[in-house]
């Protein structure tokens, strides 16, 4: 059916904000992108997500939907005949996609964002090791799930592609800031090639932030974090 979405969004750096945008693009749904100012939460955001007060929030026909992966599933449910199916049709494939998406949000991404905040070399190495191990698990999963096709979703970008792909910008920044290759063609060849295809996809191109811009943003955040952190004992 017809529909316009509206998105309240702090903006381009957030990987979570990217997810619904990719989903809406895949479905060919027109939407309005409301950028929130960094550090200031608008009344509309606070009213739409009173529980978590966070972005992204999708407003559709006046009703809010929160939490990026829940929003993506909502988009798939609400526009069933537009564009490709985002969730796999087979219940087992669906459960597998949801499992890895939850793993990304609960384990993998916190480890990656923990690298920059790690106090000391040992803590940093521990966080990096977790990220590398996670990528190895995901490489294995990609092989099993894609079955030789270009994406986790098969011929088209699907739920797990979106869930993982949104982190590619930050992954590149992490590589840059730590002088190491994480998406290494030698170690994770399937994922490395998948990443190129994902970033080149029409639904993704316009919303994937440039690594340079993200790196600048990361430096800003790091400076703020260091300034606010208590002095070492």
């Amino acid at each position: 059916g017809e529909g316009r979405g509206r998105e309240a969004d702090r903006g381009w750096p957030s990987p979570f904000v990217m997810r619904p945008r990719i989903a809406l693009n895949l479905k060919g749904v027109e939407y309005e992108f409301l950028e929130e100012k960094l550090g200031v939460k608008s009344d509309l955001l606070l009213r739409s997500n009173p529980v978590h007060k966070k972005i992204p929030v999708l407003l559709h026909a006046g009703r809010p939907v929160c939490e990026s992966l829940i929003i993506v599933q909502y988009i798939d449910d609400a526009w069933p005949s537009s564009g490709p199916s985002i969730l796999p049709s087979d219940p087992y494939d669906c459960a597998t996609a949801r499992f890895w998406a939850a793993y990304l949000d609960e384990k993998w991404f916190p480890a990656m964002s923990g690298i920059a905040r790690a106090q000391g070399e040992e803590a940093k190495k521990a966080a990096l090791d977790q990220v590398v191990e996670g990528l190895s698990l995901l490489e294995d999963a990609f092989g099993k799930i894609s079955k030789g096709k270009p994406f986790f979703g098969g011929d088209t970008v699907g739920f797990l592609d979106i869930a993982l792909g949104c982190f590619l910008g930050w992954l590149r920044v992490t590589e840059k800031m730590n002088g190491m290759k994480l998406l290494d063609e030698a170690k994770v060849p399937g994922l490395a090639k998948w990443a190129e295809r994902f970033c080149a996809h029409d639904a993704v191109k316009g919303v994937m932030p440039e690594t340079e811009k993200l790196a600048e943003f990361a430096k800003l955040i790091m400076a703020k974090f260091k300034a606010a952190a208590p002095p070492p004992q």
């Binding site: 529980v51 939907v65 939490e67 599933q73 909502y74 449910d77 219940p91 459960a95 499992f99 939850a102």
Partner: protein, 224 residues
């Protein structure tokens, strides 16, 4: 061809209990494999290598992990007694509140249970705030799912069991009828509902278990 449905669970896991409820409500025949939390079987570890936890549902040889994900799988595979609503927005809200239950409600109540003094006070205040939001969600409804038990009732069902256990052990007032009349009424409706009422783990065994867990946590935090 007979379907093979196996559920790996422990006697007390509230997460595994969710799957038991779903399978029972849908009238699905399944085999239970009881695991010991202290000594997990190699079979379980093989089926859930990432987390090595229960519950794991095995359907025709293929494992599914993570209780909320298993619930959705069960609902999509066996269509009788639908758990998730049809309406996309209602589905999104059910998923949202289930996640909220695990991430916020469970966390704050658990913290209140194992902590003391100011930390406990703060956790209790937080838990009350979160419970108030669930209270509002029940307005005008018998169950979170409406007239019938649904996905969100199952996801929050641990409240009907464990909160009483925690209150009994600690003497804390977490979910009372004065502050949360709708939730309090729902606890009883849910607990006494057919199928649900037949599955509760032994109250006495739970008391023993959580007294021990609380002591363990208390000992760990006082030794730092």
């Amino acid at each position: 061809m007979a379907e093979e449905v196996k559920l790996f669970r422990t006697w007390s896991s509230p997460f595994a209990l969710r799957v038991v409820w779903a399978l029972q409500l849908k009238g699905i025949q399944y085999e239970t494999v009881l695991e010991d939390v202290a000594k997990k079987s190699d079979v379980l570890r093989g089926y859930n290598p990432v987390y090595k936890k229960v519950p794991v549902l095995l359907h025709n040889g293929r494992p599914i992990s993570e209780s909320l994900i298993i619930l959705e799988y069960v609902d999509e595979t066996w269509k009788q007694h639908s758990l998730l609503p049809q309406d996309p927005h209602a589905r999104a809200m059910a998923r949202f509140w289930a996640k909220f239950g695990d991430d916020k409600v469970m966390q704050s109540i658990w913290t209140a249970f194992v902590s003391e003094g100011k930390e406990q006070e703060a956790a209790l205040a937080e838990a009350s705030e979160h419970l108030q939001k669930l209270e509002e969600e029940l307005r005008g409804k018998k169950f979170f799912g409406g007239d019938n038990i649904g996905y969100l009732d199952i996801a929050l069902g641990w409240l009907a069991n464990l909160v009483r256990v925690f209150e009994e052990i600690s003497g804390l007032r977490v979910l009372d009828g004065e502050r949360f009349p709708l939730l309090f009424a729902w606890l009883k409706e849910f607990s006494d509902a057919p199928v649900i009422r037949d599955c509760w783990p032994s109250h006495d065994k739970l008391i023993t278990k959580f007294i021990a867990l609380r002591q363990l946590h208390g000992a760990q935090s006082s030794s730092t």
